[in-house]
Amino acid sequence: MITAISCSGNSMDSQVDTRFGRCPFFAIFDSESGKLRFEENPGKEAESGAGPAAVKFIASQGAQKIVSGEFGFKVKPLFDQLDIQMISIEGNKTVREIMELLKSN
């Protein structure tokens, strides 16, 4: 299962960025192989439509889950259609903490 996490930097100790479409990085975590990589969000500075562009990027990475703070109204139906599960989290958490939570599930 591949999970994408919107995050503010490209290390395990980076915080989860709660702005889904305009976060600087996505952590792509494969729970089966345990591999983690970071990808720059290609649409973070898009003039408009950063959210849908990010959905497209997440889907292209083969993710089935996305962890972020808030998902806008344009983004939700797109994730639903693609059967990608949205997980909203509150408060400050690091990529490492999210990975541990995913592993324990």
Binding site: G43, A46, E47, S48, G49, A50, P52, A53, V55, K56, A59, S60, K74, L78, Q81, L82
Partner: protein
């Protein structure tokens, strides 16, 4: 022709109050004047007039439609879209238009090599032209832009409203453009064709904050700004010092007055019932004419 926009950063400062009353005073003074309500999301100038004859013009926008029997999911349309309005995932044979983001530019159908993108016309609003009871005789006209329910982008309707107002105006006439609130697209599209912009503000911290935003945008657009201070007598003097520092002349101060507010709430023009308010508007008119002619 002189085009004057009545705007403000903040909502509720009195744009419509100033526009409708100034329109009436200008008619009294024998000006050939057109009032255009450009607040297409929420037009309400009409509540102050009793229009008779009406012409309507439909405002259309084009949106792409995808023919899935022809589409090969090459992604060319999505890549060409400057607004990320086309959501396409080739691997899953998915293509979807995100209406809100589409500007109707047509580039997607232009770049498609398979004729899979067709542009369909949709109604997005209307521009109405009213010749009021007295309007027919004195040459004054009232125009209103109104969006369709559910439409999201007022800009095409605003542009059509301003065009209509300009096309109806005589050589020596005056066009008053009642602008939507704020300082974003709707506002910019209303003021962009104006020769002068009257900023209606109130002497409160909220009024000042939004006045600053609007005047910054207008400075970038190199527009000549004038100000009307509505609800004077409340708040503090910061708005006055700001206007002074930016060399924005104050055309008039309109004191806060409960009676004027009541007239307004009943759809009546204060200048028709209240001598004091009429005098203030005559001062506004005189100062304005001196500056624009």
């Amino acid at each position: 022709m002189v085009k004057i926009a009545i705007a403000s950063g903040k909502g509720g400062t009195g744009k419509t109050f100033v526009s409708t009353n100034l329109y009436h005073v200008m008619k009294m003074k024998g000006e050939s004047v057109i009032l255009a309500d450009c607040d297409a999301e929420e037009p309400n100038d009409i509540n102050f007039f009793h229009p008779e004859i009406k012409d309507e013009e439909i405002v259309k926008r084009t949106l792409p439609e995808f023919d899935l029997t022809k589409c090969v999911f090459c992604g060319k349309c999505a890549d060409s879209c400057a607004f990320n309005a086309i959501f396409m995932i080739p691997g899953r044979r998915k293509v979807k238009l995100i209406d809100d983001l589409c500007h109707g530019c047509g580039v997607c159908s232009y770049v498609c090599d398979f004729r899979a993108v067709k542009e369909k016309i949709h109604k997005t609003g209307k521009v109405s032209v009213f010749y009021s009871e007295t309007g027919c005789k004195d040459g004054s006209v009232f125009i209103e832009g109104r969006m369709c329910e559910g439409a999201r982008n007022p800009v095409p309707v605003i542009a059509a409203t301003v065009n209509k107002a300009v096309s109806e105006c005589t050589e020596a006439g005056i066009v008053l453009l009642d602008s939507p609130p704020g300082s974003s697209c709707s506002f910019v599209n209303t003021v962009s064709r104006a020769d002068f912009v009257i900023l209606v503000t109130e002497p409160t911290p909220f009024g000042l904050n939004d006045l600053k935003l609007a005047s910054e945008v207008l400075a970038k657009m190199k527009k000549k700004c004038l100000a009307v201070i509505n609800k004077s007598g409340m708040g503090n003097g910061d708005v006055y010092s700001f206007l002074l520092s930016r060399h924005i002349p104050v055309l008039a101060e309109l004191p806060y007055d409960k009676n004027s507010a009541s007239y307004y709430s009943e759809g009546k023009l204060a200048v028709m019932f209240d001598d004091r308010m009429r005098n203030r508007f005559l001062v506004l008119y005189d100062n304005l004419i001196k500056l624009i002619k």
